[in-house]
Point group: none
């Protein structure tokens, strides 16, 4: 019990630090983030931050892991509430889930996309040896490895189910349909971010209108027998 209590306290502190980390990372980017500032924001000392996360990169990984976890949770929840509905609806709901997720936690979606891109977006490429030794063997790195493919599997699974239940008429490979759909969604998010995440109109187009159109396009795609 005392062990449990202590573990919980530990988790709590860890979570607290990750909270601060993602706030700062989101605000100023990886390179401009100072461990000092994270510590201050979390109300602990720098030493404590290093007790839980032994490098800055590892802490960034922890944020990545959390982002993926959150995304996965959201996607699974959506899938579960659409279990008895046609695959098509499930897939579109998943797209909407991702859009919601990106809108709500836009930094998380950035982090997830940046993930395979670590060398350039973070400091990780600094020293090839460190990249390999320190980071890749960090717990969070491996955890991220483990769950990074879940979204793909889940979504292609639902596409396949849609094909099976006849709600999806487009008979191209589910993976292809996934990639095209996800590309369109990711592009939507990227353009929005690039435009400055808080505008509700871009080139005189209302963002909600754009988003709705995007979903209609995805539906049309999945229903198309000619593409």
């Amino acid at each position: 019990m005392s062990t449990n209590g202590s573990n919980q306290r530990r988790s709590l502190k860890e979570a607290n630090i990750i909270d601060s980390a993602e706030r700062i990372f989101a605000a100023v980017g990886f390179a401009n983030t100072k461990m000092e500032e994270i510590a201050r924001d979390a109300g602990v000392s720098k030493g404590t931050v290093y007790f839980y996360f032994d490098t800055k990169e590892n802490l960034y990984m922890a944020v990545t892991y959390r982002a993926l976890q959150l995304l996965n949770d959201a996607l699974y929840r959506t899938r579960d509430t659409h279990k008895s509905r046609p695959g098509l609806e499930s897939v579109l709901a998943l797209a909407e889930t991702y859009l919601d997720f990106s809108a709500k936690y836009f930094f998380y979606s950035e982090v997830i996309l940046d993930y395979m891109n670590l060398n350039r977006s973070t400091q990780l490429g600094k020293d090839r040896a460190r990249m390999t030794d320190a980071i890749k063997e960090s717990m969070y790195y491996r955890m991220v490895q483990d769950i990074q493919n879940l979204p793909v599997k889940l979504i292609t699974g639902e596409i396949a189910r849609g094909v099976d239940d006849g709600s999806i008429l487009n008979h191209n490979k589910p993976e292809l349909l996934y990639l095209v759909a996800w590309g369109a969604v990711v592009g939507f998010v990227k353009l929005n971010v690039a435009a400055g995440s808080f505008r509700d109109t871009l080139h005189h187009v209302n963002v909600q209108e754009w988003r709705d159109y995007l979903i209609r396009l995805l539906r049309a795609d999945l229903l198309s027998t000619e593409l």
Copy 2:
């Protein structure tokens, strides 16, 4: 004239430095790039780099400007060779141009997307004052400002032409069509980059096949009367 000769020599040296800069930026990212290394790569001294570009950020801006220029050039060339063809074909050719551009100069497309996002991706947000004073008043920053909207204008223009000449049947606002199409294209590029820019298959899908499908989807979209 000797002045012309000197100006040319100057431009040449400047271009040479930008060459090196984009190589290094592309390889290791803004934060990990050392001015020293750019200088070495360009075969000049650090001082010379600073003689032409007085800050690292300014040099990055010069790269951005070049990227935009190159993209614009490519788009305009495509538009010009499609002047007498239906708008629909021109628009699709523009999409392909962007895809080619991103494949050939993938770092350029990154830079262009990062542009509005400077604070986090570069060091620019470090010191609000410097951001405002040094960068925003840099020649390149202003030049970038000037040309950043050309692609949008060009493409929406071609979409409008397609609507006029009857080759595009989708009568939604050209800007909306532009955004959806461009989002899909950008997402394609992003997913490819994220996956590691040199793979020719992703989730067992051949990239060329994916790309072809994307273009077919865009064509279908522009021809759709129901979306």
Copy 3:
């Protein structure tokens, strides 16, 4: 308390660094002083110097503050030991105190005179913004602001007392008497410094003899009813 101990240790280290700083500043001047060298002299790392004083200018200010403190202490001590003696004697003793101070800590007197003159003597004027933001808001700058006028007040106070008690016969404004006397004293110090601080004769005049004459002149001035 351990806190007290830690604070003391901290003060000690700070004082140690200031010790080194003033040694180097005195030896080679502000511009030629390297933080590195101060650190080495203090037996700490460069980082430690910056931990305590976040800019070179701030460190210089700390030296200035100490100089003023020391001068004030000396002047107050002199004033206190002359409380029961005539104002005239007190004022002359204060002059001698300043002369002693300048002889013993000649760099301190330089620093004090340079204080209002920061722009040119130090680097402070380099960047107007930094001057305003970094320096003026430094703790030491404000501390210096606070105590810079104490000497004037103390001395004019003693002159006024001398007038009251009849030991000073010159009835011009105490501030005027102060300025003339202090000018003479400061000039004495300056000429000595300019001549190279370690000579005991200047233009064949023995420095001690000069100094004695100066004090006699001040006494005569304060006793004069005709000036």
Copy 4:
């Protein structure tokens, strides 16, 4: 003749550069002055500045030389117009001359006082070897050496004349009288400079009033038989 013309042109250009140099040195101090800026201010290239003055220090020396020359000129002129008047009046006039000089060219008086103090106030002490080899052997350095003692000689000479002609009653060594008087004058200037060179009141004392008092004090000193 053509040689003369060329020499003149050369002198003109040199003088022009010194003009700019003293402007900048005065404004921002030696350390903060950039050769570039002097060149720009003078309307010539950096190379040209180096053609005439091969180091920054040498240029500073040229300014020092000019300052001394100007001061000497002024003092000699005063002495000459007082040739037939009592020595006392001549000495006081010389004091006033120096005060005028400092008020008009306050930077010159700084430069002159700094002269023996080069190590700390300039960069000259940087490298002992350079100090000796480059600077001390510079033409201007030697020229400065030659004329630095003229003021002392001139003034002590006039004091001696005053003693001889009976206008000065104080029979202390002329050199001592010179030092005390000059110290008072220098101190006056220093305190004014330190207070910010453009105020016309200091501690509620009108500067002109202070100055007048100073002259009266000097006169009294020279007339005193008791000091």
